[in-house]
Structures are given as C-alpha cells and as structure tokens.
C-alpha cells in the first residue's frame, strides 16, 4: 500500500463505519412473526390430522411432509424467496427452509442435466446439515447406548 493508505485494522474500522447494518428492529420481529406463523400453521395442521383420525405419531409426521411439500411447491413457483426476503431466519430455521435449500439447487442446476446438474448439486446447500446431522445422531446414539447398557 502507498504511504497515505490506512493500516489494515484502521481500514477495517473505516469499513465498519461506512457500512450500514441490518435494521434489526425490523428484521428480528419480522423473522419472529413469519417463523411463528409457519409453526402455527404446522400446529394447525397437526390438529386437523388428529381430528381426521390419525395417530399422534402419524399426525406429526404428516405435518412435516405437508410443510415440506408446501415449501417445495412455493419454491418451484418462485414465491418462496420473496417470502424469505421478508421473513429472514423465520423461513430459514423451520423445516420449510430445509426443503427450499434442496429444491432451489434442483431447479437451478437443471440446465446441466438430471445427473451432473440436479442429481449432483441437489444437496449443495443442505448437504452439510445432513452430514453433520447424521454425525450428531451417531454421537447421540452412542451416548444413549452407554447410558442404557
């Protein structure tokens, strides 16, 4: 750097000052509301499935299936990312975010074909969640086995 350029840490300070932060007074409540609405919808569906005569286990599983299907459909229709823009982490954290993370690369990489495109890029975002989720369940299972031996 030339002589009048700031030192790296000084520049980092300048950058921090020049960069606007997210408006968390707006984004946090919106994430709460959108995420809460998704969870409320899930709970509503569970009640409906129970009323339809499904067992509690089946009803819970069907809620996940329904939310994943709805999220996949909304991703395919190009609506999900618009909701996510408002909802932020509210749409990311529930199971809907996971479905979106699988369906969006499936759509995006269609242009490279079903095998090298969609097939190989399907888990490009969700892959780490699955890999480390499985690893965590393995550790959990081991501890569970130790305790109940």
């Amino acid at each position: 750097m030339e002589k009048h350029m700031p030192k790296p840490d000084e520049y980092q300070r300048m950058v921090k000052e020049a960069s606007r932060g997210s408006k968390s007074y707006k984004t946090v409540p919106l994430a709460f509301l959108v995420g809460g609405a998704i969870c409320a919808a899930g709970e509503g569906l569970r009640k409906l499935y129970l009323m339809a005569g499904l067992s509690p286990d089946w009803a819970t599983a069907m809620v996940s299936v329904s939310l994943i299907a709805a999220s996949a459909l909304l991703t395919g229709l190009g609506v999900y990312d618009n909701i996510a823009k408002v909802g932020g982490a509210g749409t990311l954290v529930p199971i809907t975010g996971f479905a979106n993370a699988v369906v969006s690369p499936a759509l995006e990489f269609r242009s490279e074909g079903m095998i090298l495109g969609t097939g190989s890029k399907l888990f490009v975002i969700a892959g780490p969640v699955i890999a480390y989720g499985l690893a965590a369940s393995w550790v959990y299972g081991f501890i569970f086995w130790l305790i109940n031996r």
Binding site: M1, E2, H4, M5, P6, P8, Y11, Q12, M14, V15, A18, S19, R20, G21, S22, T27, T75, G76, G78, Y80, D81, I83, A84, K85, G87, G88, T91, L92, G97, N100, A101, V103, S104, P105, L107, E108, F109, S111, I125
Partner: protein
C-alpha cells in the same frame, strides 16, 4: 505510439476515437433511471435462450452486433476484440463472440473489465497494431448468482452492503480516426492490485475502494492533472459503501473529488426504489453506464473531460472459502470530447 508517464499512465500520441458504442440490458435495467438510453432491453432475462450462461453470451453478441451496425462496420473492419466477463473461463465472451471471426483477446478484470479492455484497445489503436478495435464486456445477475452465491430460488437474505449484479452488456469500438464532434481516449492508466484485507464477499465496495483511490492518485500525479481538470469522475461500481470509503481515502492526500464524482453502481439503478442495497455491480454495470450515459452526455457536449475508473473485486469463491481475502483492482481511462480539429 503511447508515451509512458511515470509508472503506468500512458498518454496517447494519436488519441483513438470512439467510433460507436452500444448497450444491452435486462428487465431490472429497464426499470432503472437509464432505461430509455439502452439500445436494447429484454423483458426476458433469458434472452430467448435456455440457460443463464447462454443468455449472457447472447447479450454480449447483441451488444457487439448493435455497436457494429450503429457504426456501419462489418466483421472484417475490426482487427481485434478485447473482451471479458465474470464467468469461469470468460464464457460470456468466448462463446458469445466466437461467431464473429474477429481476432479475440480475452481479458479478466472482474467488474473493471470495461476500462481494462478499453485500455488495451486504445494502446493497440494508438500504436497502429489495430485500425479498429472493440472492447466488450457483460454480466448477468442470474449466471453470476449461481456461480458466486446461491441458486436464485434459495431464500437467502442479502445484507445492506451487498451489491446487485447488473444484467447488461456494453460494447465500444475504437478507431484511428473519425468525424468530429467525437470522443477520444487521451490517457489510460493501469492499476495495481490492492488488497485491503476484506473477507466479506457481501461488501465488495470496501474491497475495491483502495484500488480506485490508488489509481486516481497515481493518475493525477503522473498526468500532472487535478480533479478540477475533469468535468466528471466516474468510478466502476463501488456502490454506496465504496464511494464513501473512496472519499475518505483520497481525503488523506487532500484530494477531493466529491463534487464531481459519480459511481456507475449508483447511476444504473434507483438504489431505494429498486432494492439493490448498496448499488449495482458487475462488468455490465460500468460498461452500460459508459454506453448509456457517459458517452452520450459527452457527445451532447455536456462533459468535455471525463475519467472512468471501473473497479473490480478479484474475488475467488474458492480462496474466500480457504480464508483468503478479496483483492481489488481499478484501471482508468481519460475520455475527451473534441468538437473540432485541434480541440
């Protein structure tokens, strides 16, 4: 032959003339402030193709074809093309321009590609290596997103410092001589890679501001001119954050450009209305602003001397994942409006 002033400022001996230029844009650009100045705007961001990469190649082909038509030029009239884009292997340029059968030299300067290719074209024309040379570049929001970020339909949230890659292409054809009134390239200045240690790929303005500051400082020094010698100074796509930082960096050397500076990233889009966060970016941003705003305004006699310093973040997603930083670069072109002989 261009004269070397200082370390990397080249003064043109026989200033190359802008013979013709054209800009092509997509749907978001058609809602922006420069919409009525584009030569062609497509509401279909696929440009009738079946993939984003093919759309970008079509866009670049269209830009060059339009510029050639506007200048009444045939393929055989051009000696060389300098072109590049953001995609791996410079796909937009090499696939987009293959059918022209014009000698092709690919360049990569990220979003600074327009001034880099103009620099090269100018030097070629001035030295007599080319009678006419083209400088073309493009960027496409969708092809850039899938290469650098996430799939389009993925619900990720962009921070306020992120910039929006323009779906646009610009082509400029330079020649040895042309009719008055005309725009000439008087000086060019090659920039050095400045790496201020930014690791946030969502804050490219901050990664590029030092490169822009350095090339401007160096140019003023080596050409023995000052900001007041220019009617307008345009930087590539520093956006809101980078522009602020540029003023601060230049202020340290008591250089003030704020009264005559505009950033291409803040001209192409309406920052508030179009939700582009810190502003536009991408090779096509400065290229289309050059062809839709800067050159037409100069030919209308509103600006006499203009600096275009397009800026590029030489970001490699792989290197950022490996914990490395984002280097920035900026090259500068000084354009002059000559109304008549000897002007």
């Amino acid at each position: 032959m261009a004269k070397l002033c200082g370390r990397s400022t080249y003064r043109m001996e026989r200033p190359p003339v802008v013979l013709s230029f054209a800009a092509v844009g997509g749907s978001k650009e058609s809602q922006g402030p420069l919409a009525d100045r584009f030569d062609y705007l497509s509401q279909d961001d696929l440009f009738g193709a079946d993939s984003w990469e093919k759309a970008e190649t079509k866009m670049q082909r269209l830009a060059l074809k339009t510029a050639m038509n506007k200048g009444g030029l045939k393929k055989g009239d051009l000696n060389v093309l300098f072109a590049g884009d953001l995609l791996n292997q410079c796909t937009g340029s090499s696939y987009g321009l293959r059918e022209f059968m014009i000698p092709f030299l690919g360049v990569y300067g990220a979003c600074s590609t327009m001034s880099e290719s103009l620099l090269m074209a100018s030097v070629f024309v001035d030295s007599g290596l080319a009678k006419r040379a083209g400088a073309i570049t493009s960027s496409h929001f969708c092809s850039a997103e899938r290469q650098y970020r996430f799939p389009l339909e993925y619900g990720s949230v962009r921070p306020p410092t992120a910039q929006w890659t323009a779906t646009a292409s610009g082509a400029v054809i330079l020649g040895e001589t042309g009719p008055f009134p005309r725009v000439e390239v008087r000086h060019v200045c090659a920039g050095v890679i400045e790496d201020p240690g930014i690791t946030d790929a969502n804050n490219m303005g901050a990664a590029m501001a030092p490169a822009a500051a350095c090339v401007l400082k160096r140019y003023f020094q080596e050409s023995a001119t000052a900001p007041s010698d220019y009617d307008h100074i345009f930087t590539g796509d520093l956006g809101e954050v980078g522009s602020k930082l540029l003023y601060e960096l230049l202020q340290r050397d008591h250089i003030d450009i704020s009264d005559r500076h505009q950033d291409c990233g803040l001209i192409l889009f309406d920052q508030q209305r179009q939700d582009v966060h810190a502003g536009g970016s991408g090779c096509g941003c400065s290229a289309s602003v050059l062809c839709c705003h800067i050159l037409p305004e100069m030919l209308a006699g509103r600006y006499k001397d203009v600096i275009l310093a397009a800026t590029g973040a030489l970001l490699s997603p792989t290197m950022v994942q490996q914990g490395d930083t984002i280097p920035g670069i900026s090259h500068l072109v000084h354009l002059h409006f000559a109304e008549k002989e000897g002007d």
